[in-house]
């Protein structure tokens, strides 16, 4: 099912929760709504589900405006962060509740429940009550309950946030597999950019009720259109420093009192002559220069945070410019060490400090 949001707006009194949101979701697509808490992503999802009424704008399912269609007639399935299982019903009763409401014959209910339970690996739990299940099992039941009525649209509201880290990985893979197998259009709300990047075909990044970007994960990572998106996507987050880009000897230099960095002319040329701009460098695009290799920057290790596989290094360039990057723990960098850094300057980003828009992509 295609889902189109047109100028969708939701106000609570004077507070604007969702502001003029436009989104076209293709049939069978898996879209993530990504943003920090309070950005309006869950409100958007609940409007699509029919729980909230839009203040203005339209929601279209396959072209039909559904603003006034009650949730029960929208043919959507939804999975909640809290699982939202009915505590007084067994797993079987939970699964068949949507069918019972549709007055599906008992025999068919049983057949469908068995098939879904098998698919979700909860066949042995049918007689239990939700309180007797682990978090992961509860989420499988919730997913099964959403799928059993064969919805045209699946909605996920941070379904993995309450699970522990290991289980989250398993469930993530499972959701992805199911969605690909069944081909149901899915909208997935999350504040976890890794979840969004791994699951979604396209990600809609939201902030304070507004859509910041709507693109594939690669696109968001490589060509962020706003400062917010650049900072929000990627882990550890992108480094930002204020620089001025000047042209000198046929080179483009990003300059501030702490450093002079020659940048890729393609990119540098777009930021040149604009006065102060914000330069963004992803930590993974900064590496330590090997012996004999020319360095772009010299810095002093300011802080070392061991992450296990890597050390996250906070290095100070000059007086007050700090850059984060990842280093091999085997190198045993210590605070105060002098390091020589190389920057993949063909991948730096530039933003207008006023509008926060990218100077490279629009």
């Amino acid at each position: 099912m295609e889902v189109h949001l047109e100028h969708l707006t939701k106000r609570w009194g004077k507070v604007v929760a969702v502001d003029d949101l436009n989104l076209e979701i293709r049939s069978g697509e898996f879209v993530a709504l990504l943003g920090p808490s309070g950005c309006g992503k869950t409100t958007t999802l609940l409007m699509i589900a029919g729980i909230y009424k839009p203040t203005s704008g339209y929601i279209r399912f396959d072209g039909r405006v559904v603003n006034k269609v009650p949730p029960k007639d929208r043919n959507v399935g939804m999975v909640f962060q809290s699982y939202a299982l009915y505590p007084h019903m067994t797993v079987y009763e939970n699964l068949t509740f949507p069918l019972k409401l549709k007055k599906v014959p008992e025999e068919e209910q049983r057949r469908k429940a068995r098939r879904i339970a098998e698919m979700m690996g909860i066949g042995h739990l049918l007689d239990r009550y939700p309180a007797q299940l682990s978090g992961g099992q509860q989420q499988r039941v919730a997913l099964g309950r959403a799928l059993i009525k064969e919805p045209a649209l699946l909605l996920f509201d941070e379904p993995l946030s309450n699970l522990d880290a290991r289980l989250r990985l398993t469930m993530r893979a499972e959701i992805k597999r199911l969605q690909m197998e069944l081909g149901i259009t899915s909208i997935y709300v999350t504040h976890d950019q890794v979840e969004a990047m791994t699951l979604a075909d396209r990600i809609a990044v939201m902030r304070e009720g507004r859509l910041q970007a709507f693109a594939t994960p690669e696109e968001l990572y490589e060509r962020p259109r706003t400062l917010f998106v650049a900072g929000f996507i990627g882990n550890p987050p992108m480094n930002f420093t204020q620089v001025e880009v000047i042209q000198q000897d046929g080179q483009y230099l990003a300059v501030n009192p702490d450093m002079r960095l020659a940048v890729d002319p393609d990119r540098g040329s777009r930021a040149a002559g604009r006065g102060r701009v914000i330069m963004g460098i992803r930590p993974e695009h900064i590496t330590l220069a090997r012996d004999g290799e020319p360095a772009h920057l010299e810095a002093e290790v300011y802080l070392v945070e061991p992450l296990g596989r890597d050390d996250l290094i906070n290095a100070r360039v000059g007086k007050e410019t700090h850059l984060h990057f990842l280093a091999d723990p085997a190198l045993k960098l210590r605070i105060g060490d002098r390091v020589r850094l190389r920057v993949d300057t063909s991948r730096v980003q530039f933003f207008d400090p006023e509008t926060e828009q990218s100077l490279l992509w629009s």
Partner: protein, 302 residues
């Protein structure tokens, strides 16, 4: 013995003194109940001591006081009435406040805040002051054909009918019920209700199939409390029903007490114990439920 935070810092002697003091303060209650029990099974009592006709102490134990159970036909009439009153009150209060409590807790509609404020005001408002004008309302309701005073079992809904008494009592208990029910509904997570709506239920179905089963303990507590209130009630039936000895147990006992002939306390105590018995059973077995109503309901949400 378990020691709470408050229970530290006292020497044993101080503690025993406190318990002694507490026992002394509670004595009148204990003595009162003791007397009821003793008196019920005695010809008569001198203080707490059972005596026989000649006044010899510790004699005269008898079951004769309970003969009202088979000798006075009115007792079964009033027992049935009290039962109908208590059950009708319970069903009415629980059902109506479960409905209104749900809407006030969970449905967005104009006037919601106003009604909630009103509920709170009515909860604090002393409704007994309205008895005089409610008398007029009931007389007026009695003039409605058939339902006014021509219904089986409850008589009708007007003046001098059991139904009228029930209706008045439901109304008086309603602010408490609504406020409590709203509180119970407030505690159910929204996602559960949203899930049910998306699964295809209407809000009415959600209320009945998903939410009501989840607040069963609250409903039980309110039911017990309301039942006891109905079973005990004296003033409303006394005021709005004309034949005391045929209305409810409470008015029946009062009619026994206000006879011009000297009151036979032992007999009245037996009837009193008869009325008290179900209350005591509830009290012993469902204290926690009752306490939850007292602490939640009395506070009025404060």
């Amino acid at each position: 013995m378990d020691e709470g935070a408050l229970r530290t810092g006292l020497r044993p002697r101080q503690m025993y003194f406190l318990m002694f003091l507490m026992t002394l303060l509670t004595l009148p209650i204990v003595v009162g109940y003791l007397w009821i029990f003793i008196s019920t099974f005695s010809r008569r009592t001198h203080g707490l001591i059972p005596v026989d006709i000649e006044g010899r102490p510790f004699r005269g134990l008898t079951l004769e006081n309970w003969s009202f159970l088979w000798q006075d036909p009115n007792i079964w009439k009033v027992t049935l009435n009290s039962l109908i009153l208590a059950l009708g009150l319970t069903v009415g209060v629980v059902l109506i406040s479960a409905m209104a409590g749900y809407a006030l807790s969970r449905i967005r509609f104009p006037g919601r805040k106003g009604f909630l404020a009103l509920t709170l005001i009515l909860h604090a408002f002393p409704s007994v002051t309205l008895l005089i004008s409610i008398y007029f309302v009931l007389r007026w309701l009695a003039r409605i054909p058939v339902v006014g005073r021509g219904l089986p079992l409850i008589g009708g809904i007007g003046y001098n009918t059991l139904g009228g008494v029930i209706l008045v009592m439901v109304s008086l208990q309603l602010p408490l019920g609504i406020w409590l029910m709203k509180g119970f509904f407030d505690q159910i997570p929204w996602d559960v209700e949203r899930a049910a709506l998306i699964d295809g239920a209407s809000r009415f179905l959600v209320w009945r199939k998903i939410l009501l089963p989840q607040i069963k303990p609250g409903i039980a507590a309110l039911s017990i409390f309301t039942f006891i209130a109905g079973w005990n009630e004296f003033l409303i039936p006394y005021t709005y029903m004309t034949q005391q000895e045929k209305s409810t147990i409470a008015t029946y006992i009062n009619s026994l007490l206000s006879e011009t002939a000297p009151v036979n306390y032992s007999q009245v105590a037996a009837v009193g114990l008869f009325q008290l018995l179900p209350v005591l059973l509830f009290f012993v077995f469902t204290q926690e439920y009752l306490l939850s109503i007292f602490s939640g309901g009395m506070k009025g949400g404060a």
